[in-house]
């Protein structure tokens, strides 16, 4: 029976071009034609007449009674032991896309992975995730872009022939003594590493080069010089009382944001009686979410980082007595920053997002002076996910240009898109004797290679990872391969002539090197997904020689040189690996609130100098990009997000935005993503960006309530004094509703929320929320149930920035409920504001009357509609849908339900186990995904619950509470570590 089930997936594979035909009568005949043929051949008799009458009445009855064709669902003859239809199974696994690592748990319903959650057992990520991780499940069902079978020059090829040809070519390369290069993204699996070294050994003269589009090469080399280790240490933001970041968006995209967010948020918590929070200083050019969260933010051009860091070093050196660097212009904020850092020696962190070795050496020196090495910055659990050294890539490029390379195997890399000189590969690949690409989906490079040997999606394959020294995790397949693909490791083993399978290889390696033999240990690690090995960590000594060599090299104050381009990664796209993921494409950037495009962000001042307005196209070194005027952007800089402008990446990604990777430069031993002296000229054309928020000021309304740490310590309800006033005025003519059982509530700690938008994607994945596309977003019809509101305050050049996640507030006195003429939206006995979709007639009155505007209308049919050709338009894409949540029809209103399906599931579980529900047992998708733990959900009737404590906190308030809507969602005031309130 099982075989049959899989057969249907194979049918899916072949149906890529004729999705809709499946529902029709075969051979292009309509029902009428068939009946007509039947009739014409036969004499008309009473018998025939009745026969056809019977047939047509029956078909009419069937056709009119069932809108959808009946599809056969065959029950298991022999039910697998651990599969209960309708119950989800969760499997621990590992996510690594070449840039970002996460230990995950995959929720599988009836054989289909439908949701990714963070793995709480992981010491490293401790249950957190990011928007990219949350969205990655959709990539599994990407019928547009995934490669479905092996091919040679675009034509399908049999596995056996392919293996034979590739092995032959490898052999001839080896015999000819030509260089074979294995170009991969960072390899963090210890057994894969072992496998690669064996492969290299099998083909002498071959090389392994690691390539990352946005590399940390400068840092790796700096650490090698400073500490003698070419690794990136781990940063413990949870231990840091003072954080200084120079251009590092460590809460958004830098290194390991989910880990850092958790640590950072733990030091911003004031809910457990803490009396202090960390002090965070951010120097940056473009406004990132990290900069938005900072207690103090200074705008600075990336070309000024070196001088700034040197000045900071000098300031600290003068305090510690270390030799200082000559000829450094100091920055006005350095004295305060240095003082703060000096006071929290050993409990501070200084990070820099630049890819320049010199700047990273300065950072190392600063951290060394502060005694942070070994305290907040540790090498014992160093981060191993960043491995690329840009110099090696340049060597490869030179080889390709000179025609010295014989063969190239690409795995997890797409240099034609993201290498700054794509022509090296577009021309070089054709000249090679052998070029093989092992990527699982189509990309720009795919078309230039001879052999495409598609790998599995990460949810289909075995794997392992060592993201940090001593932290191991396993990846296991949670579905059979959807397409005719093969794990790249399997391919390498084949081409080495090894008979063993990748799974066996992996198990053997783990048995011999990591966990030792024994079925039980293996099963335990597999079940938990992670394994921690004790490491003896010794803080490495700092080599000052590296620093002294910098003297004289760092000069100037970093000003001048015209406009500076800053290429950055945004929350949704990162390096662009997931550009074909419609969820991420439609995820509004938390700061700019723009989706479906990248843009050139310029400061208001620079815009007026250059005569630019929002949406005006500018030419930036020859690339045409629309302008967005970004408050908080450093003057004379222009930020553009990487990862857009794909040309062969899939239907969603192609043609969206502009690819700015070619603007990067290789200088001083590493690729630089900022470029002074850019040629910027305004064009006549304008272009409208799709934005989900049009107004950026709170207009003096008490929407996000903010205070300073000082005021908070004096008066815990500072900034929130009005809450008590409103509570006092609580009066009603009517009988107050009593919630006898549960009364669900949610609270958002605005002090922990970083605006990272993971919750938005988690909600979209959990609740089958459709993607509507750029044109509809521009009509303000985005469907996401959760949104991150972002407001600016104060001066437009130095704005205060606040984030506020807004979902349905589940008002106990809901304005939407009493206006619905058909009672489609009503209140549950547990305080939930619920929607009955099949009762809704779509008057939209509730949308109008919701003061929070959280209700969403199904303006069109978003499922099986060619106009919305995203995941919900194909059978394969729809496999990601959560069967517990109704897919909404056109014409009905929908909104956040507090994940009622999860509430129900846990209630039933507790009932079956005959016990009361535990606090924190029910986790709505947003809460579970939140890496900072900013969202709390629970029963307000339980006085011991966390939510009750949050609601009793003097910082708690309700959005628009003066309307007396009695929301079940509370917000805790934002407390900044500032002396004075920023106006």
């Amino acid at each position: 029976m099982e075989k049959k089930y899989w057969k249907s997936t194979e049918e899916l594979n072949n149906r890529k071009d004729s999705n809709r035909k499946a529902d029709e009568i075969p051979d292009g005949k309509s029902l009428l034609e068939i009946i007509d043929q039947e009739i014409t051949g036969k004499p008309s008799s009473r018998r025939n007449f009745l026969k056809f009458c019977g047939f047509s009445f029956a078909t009419a009855a069937i056709a009119s009674s069932c809108e959808n064709p009946v599809k056969k669902a065959i029950p298991y003859l022999n039910k697998p032991e651990d599969v209960i239809p309708g119950m989800a199974s969760n499997y621990a696994s590992t996510y690594f896309d070449g840039a970002e690592y996460s230990s995950i748990v995959v929720k599988v319903r009836d054989g289909r992975p439908i949701k990714i959650e963070g793995n709480t057992l992981s010491a490293l990520t401790s249950g957190g995730s990011t928007a990219r991780v949350q969205a990655s499940v959709l990539g599994l069902y990407d019928g547009h872009a995934r490669l479905k079978h092996p091919s040679k020059k675009g034509h399908g090829i049999d596995w056996k022939i392919l293996d034979q040809e590739v092995s032959d070519k490898l052999e001839s390369l080896k015999n000819a003594g030509e260089t074979l290069v294995l170009l991969t993204s960072p390899v963090i699996g210890p057994s894969t590493k072992q496998l690669i070294s064996e492969f290299l050994a099998a083909y002498p003269g071959s090389k392994h080069i690691v390539y990352e589009p946005v590399s940390y090469s400068g840092m790796l080399e700096a650490n090698l010089e400073s500490f003698g280790q070419q690794v990136i240490p781990n940063y413990h933001f949870g231990k840091a009382g003072t954080i200084v970041s120079v251009g590092a968006d460590f809460l958004g995209t830098w290194l390991s944001p989910e880990t850092f967010t958790a640590g950072y948020a733990s030091r911003r918590s004031l809910t457990d009686g803490e009396k202090s929070i960390s002090w965070h200083m951010q120097y940056e050019a473009g406004l990132s979410i990290t900069g938005s969260r900072a207690d103090k933010r200074v705008r600075i051009r990336p070309s000024g980082y070196a001088t700034l860091l040197a000045a900071l070093y000098n300031e600290l050196a003068s305090r510690s007595g270390a030799p200082s660097l000559p000829d450094i212009t100091t920055h006005e904020t350095v004295a305060e920053t240095a003082e703060r850092l000096w006071q929290s020696k050993g409990t501070s962190i200084v990070v820099c997002g630049s890819n320049d070795k010199d700047e990273q050496i300065l950072v190392n020196a600063i951290n060394h002076l502060l005694g942070n090495i070994g305290q907040t910055i540790t090498f014992g659990d160093a981060i191993l996910t960043k491995q690329a050294v840009d110099r090696e890539m340049e060597e490869l490029a030179a080889m390709l240009e000179e025609g010295k390379a014989g063969g190239l195997i690409l795995w997890g890399v797409n240099p034609v898109y993201d290498y700054y000189r794509p022509e090296v590969f577009t021309k070089g690949l054709e000249k090679l004797k052998l070029s093989v690409i092992l990527n699982h989906a189509q990309d720009e490079t795919y078309g230039f290679t001879e052999y495409s040997v598609p790998g599995h999606h990460y949810l289909e394959s075995w794997g392992d990872a060592e993201p940090c020294r001593g932290s191991y995790s396993l990846a296991q397949p949670v579905i059979r391969p959807v397409f005719d693909t093969r794990a790249p490791q399997e391919s390498l083993l084949k081409w080495m002539g090894r008979e063993t399978t990748w799974y066996d290889y992996l198990r053997e390696y783990w048995a011999s090197e990591i966990i030792g033999s024994g079925e039980n240990t293996w099963n335990k690690v597999l079940r938990e997904g992670v394994y921690q090995k004790e490491q003896n960590s010794v803080a490495p000594s700092f080599n000052t020689a590296a620093l002294t060599s910098l003297a004289g090299r760092i000069k100037g104050d970093g000003s001048g040189e015209g406009i500076e381009i800053v290429m950055y990664q945004n929350i949704a796209m990162g390096q662009g690996h997931h550009a074909n993921n419609p969820w991420l494409m439609e995820l509004p950037d938390p700061v700019s609130k723009v989706c479906w495009d990248n843009f050139a962000a310029v400061s208001p001042k620079t815009a007026s100098e250059l005569g630019l307005s929002k949406g005006r196209m500018v030419s930036v070194n020859g690339l045409e990009i629309p302008v967005l005027i970004q408050p908080g952007q450093a003057d004379d800089t222009l930020s553009v997000a990487l990862g857009y402008g794909h040309t062969g990446f899939g239907k969603v990604a192609d043609g969206v935005g502009v690819n700015v990777f070619p603007l990067a430069v290789y200088r001083d031993g590493s690729r630089k993503y900022s470029l002074p002296g850019a040629e910027v000229s305004a064009l006549a054309r304008t272009y409208e960006l799709a934005s989900t928020q049009m107004h950026h000021s709170m207009e003096g309304r008490p929407i996000v309530r903010e205070t300073t740490l000082k005021s908070y310590l004096e008066k815990p309800d500072s900034g929130n004094e009005m809450h008590e006033e409103f509570e006092k005025k609580h009066v009603t003519l009517y009988k107050e509703i009593e919630f006898k059982g549960h009364h669900w509530g949610m609270a958002v700690d605005l002090n922990k929320c970083t605006g990272c938008s993971t919750c938005v994607i988690a909600c979209q994945a959990e609740n089958n929320i459709p993607v509507v596309g750029r044109a509809e977003v521009m009509k303000y019809r985005i469907m996401q149930w959760m949104r991150i509101d972002r407001y600016y305050s104060g001066d437009e050049n130095e704005p205060g920035v606040v984030f506020q996640p807004v979902m349905c507030q589940h008002c106990d006195n809901a304005p939407c409920e009493n206006v619905c003429p058909v009672s489609a939206t009503n209140h549950s006995s547990e305080g939930l504001n619920q929607m009955s979709y099949n009762r809704c007639v779509g008057t939209k009155y509730c949308i109008n009357n919701c003061p929070y505007k959280v209700r969403r209308f199904n303006w069109f049919r978003y499922v099986t509609n060619e106009k919305f050709d995203y995941n919900m338009n194909s059978d394969l894409g729809r496999m990601v849908l959560n069967p517990d949540v109704t897919v909404r029809e056109r014409g009905v209103v929908e909104k956040c339900s507090f994940c009622i399906q999860r509430i129900q599931e846990k209630k039933l579980l507790a009932k079956n186990e005959n016990r009361p529900l535990r606090d924190g047992e029910i986790k709505p998708a947003c809460m579970q995904a939140c890496p900072s733990g900013a969202i709390v959900f629970g029963d307000l009737n339980d006085p011991e619950s966390t939510i009750s404590k949050y609601f009793a906190d003097p910082r708690n308030y309700h959005l628009l509470e003066e309307l007396h809507t009695l929301p079940s969602v509370g917000y805790l005031t934002l407390v900044r570590n500032r002396e004075e309130e920023q106006s």
């Binding site: 309304r701 972002r790 003429p821």
Partner: protein, 462 residues
């Protein structure tokens, strides 16, 4: 103490009873004039365009409109309220003047009532069409059903709306229809063709004109008039609760029910004026719809315009007096100034200022200017509804969800369609139904003038 002034003749031109009948029935007997055919053609075209737009809406979804997740209601509700407002005049005209025993209404009430029925019919399209799932519109009927039974939400203004509008449409139509029964009998009696006799005979319900029938007729007119008088006030009050019951700044206002009723009568009277000027001109009914009729309407319009101005000022005052920053923002930053300044001032100028020109007798008597002003009032009333709906929804509580709204061709198309329906409906009325209530007009004919007429006629040797 009480002094009755002798009123002047309400009908000019020394008519007699026979002449009245033949004058008014004449357009029914004559073939339709060329302008009628031309305008009717245009009306049909507009209707067809509207039907296509409605088809688009139902087939593809409300997404074909410009409304969005912040501004959930757009042109369709503006137009709904606008048509309902226009549909107020007929009944208000007949009923209030009937109760106040203003005899001059008799020349106008038939046309006004016809207009009401057509306008309310046009209005009723919108609430149905704006539903996301119009095929389930029956969910808002309160009837015992097999789904539970699930009842409607009796708290919802939309349900009240549904009840109020259907009741109003029913009573208006009955009032209009039974008023026509004696006239149908007149046409039946005068008709020469058999078909016409049969058709009008059917609609005349076998009216013979006996005294007992007239007695019942009179009694019924007062009973229905009494019911309808209440409905005239209730229907637009209830439409106003669609807004007043909500929490949205600029909607949540207790002044809305009287303000809406007066506004509706205002736009209705303006539309009556527009139509009567056309009828007068096209069908040469100057003797029946006299200058003094139009003068009376113009005077009423001045008065209502003053009330409208007061209402606008009240709203603004209350917004300030409430101390609510949300109300203040809506009125002062999004209407008086801001993105929607034009629409706000267009409303004020058209509704509160321009009608004040009617204070001048010369303007009241210049029919061209009066005609233009009557059209401007209806434009102003349209802007009033635009103001209420769009300015309040586009910028409400959370600035993060502030958006703009622009209609699409589909929404405009549906509006054009309802204009087409209105025009064709009114034209059909012109052609097939006596435009002026024959029997009622006869009741106000001065007998003295008949005598004079007869003598005049005899002198001409007829």
């Amino acid at each position: 103490m009480y002094k009755t002034e002798v009123r002047g003749p309400l009908i000019l031109g020394d008519k007699n009873y026979r002449q009245i009948s033949s004058d008014i029935i004449a357009p029914i007997d004559r073939p339709a004039p060329l302008w009628w055919k031309g305008v009717f053609g245009l009306g049909i075209l507009a209707t067809l365009f509207g039907l296509f737009a409605m088809y688009q809406t139902v087939a593809k979804g409300i997404g074909t409109w410009g409304v969005n997740n912040s501004v959930g209601w757009g042109w369709e509700i503006i137009n709904f309220v606008w048509w309902i407002g226009i549909g107020h005049a007929g009944t208000a005209f007949s009923i209030f003047l009937l109760i106040l025993r203003q005899k001059w209404r008799t020349s106008i009430n038939r046309a006004a009532e016809a207009m009401t029925v057509v306008a309310v019919g046009a209005a009723a399209i919108f609430p149905a069409l704006h539903m996301g799932r119009v095929w389930l519109a029956f969910y808002i009927f309160p009837y015992p059903n097999t789904r539970g039974p699930l009842w409607v939400n009796f708290n919802s203004p939309l349900f009240w709306d549904f009840i109020a509008i259907s009741a109003y449409l029913l009573i208006s139509a009955s009032f209009w229809y039974y008023g026509m029964v004696p006239d149908f009998a007149t046409i039946r009696d005068k008709a020469t063709s058999k078909i016409k006799k049969a058709v009008y005979g059917f609609f005349a319900f076998g009216w013979t004109g006996s005294t007992s029938e007239w007695l019942r007729y009179e009694a019924l007119s007062y009973v229905l008039g009494g019911i309808a008088a209440v409905l005239v006030v209730s229907v637009h009050s209830i439409v106003s609760t669609d807004f007043a019951v909500s929490v949205i700044p600029g909607w949540h206002t207790t002044v809305f029910p009287p303000y809406f009723v007066v506004g509706a009568i205002f736009s209705g009277f303006a539309m009556v004026m527009t139509l009567m000027i056309i009828i007068r001109k096209m069908y040469k009914f100057q003797d029946y719809v006299t200058n003094s009729h139009l003068d009376a309407i113009a005077r009423i319009l001045i008065f209502i315009s003053l009330i409208m101005g007061t209402a606008y000022a009240t709203e603004i005052f209350i917004a300030w007096y409430s101390g609510s920053q949300y109300e203040m923002f809506t009125f002062f930053k999004n209407r008086i100034t801001g993105d929607y300044t034009f629409q706000f001032w267009a409303m004020v100028v058209c509704n509160a200022i321009i009608p004040q020109l009617f204070w001048f007798k010369k303007i009241r008597q210049n029919l061209t200017i009066a005609f233009i002003i009557s059209l401007l009032i209806n434009l102003g009333m349209w802007y009033e509804r635009f103001n209420i709906l769009i300015t309040s929804l586009s910028k409400d509580y959370l600035p993060s969800s502030w958006v703009t709204y622009h209609p699409t061709w589909v929404e405009v198309g549906v509006y054009i369609g309802t204009l087409g329906i209105f025009i064709t409906g009114v034209l059909l009325f012109f052609k097939f139904i006596p435009m002026i209530a024959i029997s009622e007009v006869k009741s106000i004919l001065k007998v003295t003038s008949i005598k004079k007429n007869e003598s005049k006629n005899s002198s001409h040797g007829q």
